[in-house]
């Protein structure tokens, strides 16, 4: 049995195996499918969540290792002012096409803006470097984050 605080709610989860992944806890046990499994090997960022406020790939984390941690998933982010703004900017800039990478992109963008309110384009590209998108060609995602930077001056 492990305990996690997920999107502000205390959850207890019976894990079937000590090396059961955080990604599986979120998707299979809690039913939060915002974090996705793209590669399962740390390369694509589709499974990104914030662990104690820090961006991580949940496919590489055994849930038992992070017992008692605080997790923010894409669903939790979506409920916040910051998440709503990011969603709006991604829509306006056509930053999402098939949408598979979008939750991870938004988690990475949110972590960046929470720690750096006025990132340069280079800093944005660096912050999103671990998130792979096979649809947009990235520029529209960068535009979306730049727009969110401007519009969210009082949020970040």
């Amino acid at each position: 049995m492990i305990r996690l605080r997920i999107n502000g709610l205390e959850r207890e989860v019976e894990i079937p195996h000590p090396m059961y992944r955080l990604l599986d806890v979120l998707r299979e046990d809690i039913g939060l499918t915002g974090a996705k499994e793209g590669c399962g090997e740390g390369e694509c960022g589709a499974c990104a969540v914030l662990l104690n406020g820090v961006l991580v790939n949940s496919c590489l984390i055994p849930a038992s290792q992070v017992d008692e941690a605080d997790i923010l998933t894409p669903e939790g982010l979506a409920e916040t002012e910051a998440g709503k703004l990011l969603a709006k900017c991604f829509t306006e800039c056509h930053g999402a096409q098939c949408g598979f990478c979008t939750p991870g992109m938004m988690m990475a963008a949110a972590e960046l803006l929470f720690t750096n309110r006025k990132p340069t384009e280079v800093e944005i590209r660096e912050a999103l470097a671990g998130n792979i998108c096979r649809c947009t060609g990235y520029d529209m995602i960068i535009d979306a984050v730049q727009l969110a930077t401007e519009r969210g001056a009082n949020i970040w």
Binding site: L55, P62, D70
Partner: protein, 314 residues
Amino acid sequence: MVEVFKPTSLAEALRIRADKHAIPFAGGTDLMVRFRARDGMAPSFKSPILFVDALPEFNTIRMFNGGLKIGASLPLSILAGDRGAVNGGTGTGATSGVVPDAAVLATIPGVLKAAAAEVGAPALRNRATIGGNLANASPAGDSIAALYALSAEIILVSLSGERMIPIEKFILGPGEISLKEDEIIHTIHIPAPLPDWTYWRKVGTRRANALTKISLAAAASIKDGRVESCSFAFGAVGPRVIRVHEIESLLQSRFPVVQEAKLKEIIAEAKKFASSMITPIDDQRSTAKYRKTVALNLIGDAIASLVEELKLGD
């Protein structure tokens, strides 16, 4: 079902390591991939697991006699300067709530900082640790080349005590290290003096999450406009990192050099030494010829940068 242990003290960790021969597990960025199971099964670990990320002393970085002592579980994001202070509760390094001292972070040699900053991408660096990178002993391990250039010493602990071993002796070959079944990497020691000049260049296929095709890590101590000591270490060109000691003695004996003609001569000589030392291989990432050409170009670039530094010091 595999047993997992989450010790909160070093004594407890060492006892478990000795009794169970459990595998140390830090950020898991290598282990979770290595033991990845298919078809939605749990990762297929065979030996007991010992989480070493939560041990407080493994997450520290501090000055020591003019050098630096870096805890084995310090995440690369902290060495890279991705983040200074973080808040939080449990988990590895950056996610563990350890707040390193800004003054100490400012002393991290540029070569190590830059090497750490080019590992993977931000989310990976938040978990990937320096001890894990070292123990994984990949010839393409980026922090390893930097640690060779810094003549790092590795401090290993077990129930029977502590031993310190230079990095060249610690890394035995690809994936092979000098670590006994009851030992854990405790600290990475970068001895004084910390260098005045460093150089780092990694060549890969793309910016993020790219395996290194070749890297050059270098460092020098400068005194009165002369190179007092220096080191040049190539990563990913062979089964182990290669330090080209001939270049080091060449530079120590010949500097200061300011005239361009002299510089060209020295670079040519350095390239000759590198050329005989480095015998890269063809693999799916690159050809031997490409690697060698790049290695020699990097040497020229690094020496030119060192000369600039000497001029500035005049």
